[in-house]
Amino acid sequence: MEAQAAQIQKKLQIELDSFKATQKDYSKMVQQRQLLDGQLNENQNVLEEMNKLNEDKNNVYKLIGPILVKQSLTESKQNVSKRIDFISKELQKCNDRLVSIEKEQDKHRENLTKLQQQLSLLSAMK
């Protein structure tokens, strides 16, 4: 009986640890999503601004290290669009990951309650 209780206790601890790990993962992912969201927003604003520009009238420069390098408007637009695509994809990945972590969390939570029930059942039988 004692051994059984100890075993459940041990399982409970393992389960709890992995639950905490998923929680950590989750908040990390949420942070990353926020970051990506911000970047996406910024890039969209830049693209919107570029769409208002005129190739002949406005020179576009890109900051590379400490210097400004002249670039063509079309190239810049393409570059920013590519970035937007990339960030959107990353964001999607992030969201998918969040959903799967949530599922994992639910599973752990379920296991935890089950183990707790077993433990209280055992102590009641004593």
């Binding site: 601004e49 570029m50 576009v60 420069y61 590379i64 400004l68 810049s76 970035r83």
Partner: protein
Amino acid sequence: MSTISTTEQPQMQQIDLMKLNLQQLTQLKNQLDQELTIFQDSLQTLKMAKGKFGASKDALEQFKEGDSKKTTLIPLTGSMYVPGRIKDIDNVIIDIGTGYYVEKDRDSAKDYFKRKVDFVSEQIDKIEVLGFEKSQIRDAICEVMTIKIQQLKGSIPAQES
């Protein structure tokens, strides 16, 4: 719009509030407090951004025809200046974000900053409305909590007698 939305659907919210127990209410209040702090932070950031765009716009307004002949002091560091002249007064280079800079003439630069200020102001208004709604809900929750606590206090001596 938001997860915990508001006064617009009172049937849902208000009945729910009375039905919740103290623990749930505290949880809800904490959540709202958290959201409110986030709103406060973003408001501050937005106001700062608005200030920056506004300052750039004001600086542009100062430019006049013929100013290219006058000398200005150009800051090299925060505390050291050298005299200089603005050679090209009609064009400025603007940071539009993510490392891209665009050369614009004065009028379209002014227009750019005006648009930015308007955009940020719009966002500020939106967040202010949302924040106001949330703080109203928070107040309602606090009220229900005091009622619940009073009920609890009242019920204990009643049980003893």
